[in-house]
Chain length 268, copies 2
């Protein structure tokens, strides 16, 4: 039986990681848990986010996955170290991959970060960036209005442009050449974010970059799936199953049609 | 004493990896060996390339490095597995990072690869790409004229445009959207290669991507340098020291002025 990559998020944001894993590693089986009943995690306390993350990990670990991906920046900032110490398989978060990609991409050394209140308040991106390079300058901005826009399935609406523009006002004129989308929900809003920031700012999706690092780390550990066995993915959510499936099918597009998927609701 | 990242190449090509490691990981100490006396490796037999690579690794290992980077595609194709099995520290090559980045970058799934006769003949890129995704289409082309152009320091000459154009003739019209520069010498020629391929083709430098994966793997293993100790890099070459230093100083530019460097000649 093929071991899966277990991916978790507060809701639908982690589907941005899923999409890239499906595209970059189509041989890999995915088990996803979206805690839609309790999203968003952004405004919650560190203790609560850590508890919720641990509950999901305890649930996912019963499927004997080969890796845990905390595909939520808020949960990564709060609980990555705790979860890594707790389980015996590799655990990866979404913050360091985004930081590494930004350092690789920036020419001026001026990097911006947007994320939830929890992520930005933790200083996790600034720490990760500065740990890699003392020469990088970081400006960051919490954008609490964006996650609800995505969880409500409004990311293709006209209204999203207006809300994104307001949310980015504080970070727009900071002379940055690279902006980290430090929340896995934000790739849903890549068009309005790109339009607001302009063509001179390279957008780094922590989600896309995490998919690539999953590939690097599984390869390094000799754990990439190499056979032609076709995976069957499993998606769990804790809340409104209809909304979750609608958003997932819309976002995953052709990727989801290539591979069989099982949908389930679970309250942990 | 800070443990170094040991980086080796047939000549000056690995300096493209060095430059990116200096930029992306400025806290890390580098020990470099360029086998300029015996470059190019491209047309040599697998057995000979493996022997030369082993000799350099035996030399570098005495400095107690924390990682070995085979910053030469030809040597990676020939000797990565052999060297990985031989030493007890992590060994990374340049082929899988380039393959992963190309899979991440391509939209059409049509990827081109250029490299030496040894690299292209080994099929190592095609295997790495197909192992990751059965959906990718690969075309490849050996370009033996390009490495000598770089080793002779002619990479900024007018002549280089003409030679690059001729060398890429076979791969140009293949409807690819991504081209892997599957030789660490090729980033020296990124301008003529970019001009020849046109703006619709994204160039993937296996060198840049390797620097990023060094960061990922050292982080995963808890081996990134975190202190503010300023590293002193060491550069060895086996051939003409003056030519090597001239090319290195030109290529590394501002990176080399930030950090003290010791230059030495060694015949192994």
């Amino acid at each position: 039986m093929q071991q899966a990559i277990a991916i978790l998020d507060s809701g639908v944001g982690g589907l941005t990681v899923v999409k890239e894993v499906m595209r970059q590693l189509p041989r890999e089986k995915i088990i996803y848990f979206g805690d839609t009943a309790r999203a968003p995690y952004g405004p919650r306390s560190t203790e609560e986010v850590t508890l919720f993350t641990e509950q999901i990990v305890d649930y996912l670990i019963q499927f004997n996955p080969k890796m845990i991906v905390i595909a939520c920046n808020t949960a990564t900032a709060a609980a990555l170290d705790y979860i890594s110490a707790k389980v015996s398989i590799p655990v990866i978060g979404v913050i360091h991959p985004g930081a590494r990609a930004a350092i690789s991409a920036t020419k001026s050394g001026h990097v911006g970060v947007i994320g939830t209140i929890g992520t930005i308040g933790s200083g996790a991106y600034t720490n990760a960036l500065k740990q890699l390079s003392p020469f990088v300058e970081v400006v960051s901005q919490a954008c609490p209005a964006l996650v609800p826009l995505v969880e409500q399935g409004m990311f293709r609406s006209e209204k999203s442009y207006e809300i994104v523009e307001q949310a980015l006002e504080g970070i727009k004129d900071n002379n940055i050449d690279t902006l980290i989308l430090g929340c896995t929900h934000y790739p849903f809003l890549v068009e309005p974010i790109g339009e607001t920031m302009g063509p001179g700012v390279k957008l780094i999706s922590s989600a896309d970059e995490t998919a690539r690092e999953i590939s690097t780390i599984l390869y390094d550990k000799g754990k990439l799936s190499i056979g032609d066995e076709s995976p069957i993915h499993q998606f769990f959510c804790s809340g409104d199953a209809e909304m979750f499936q609608r958003i997932a099918r819309d976002w995953l597009g052709e990727q989801i049609n290539r591979t069989p998927v099982v949908w389930q609701v679970s309250t942990l």
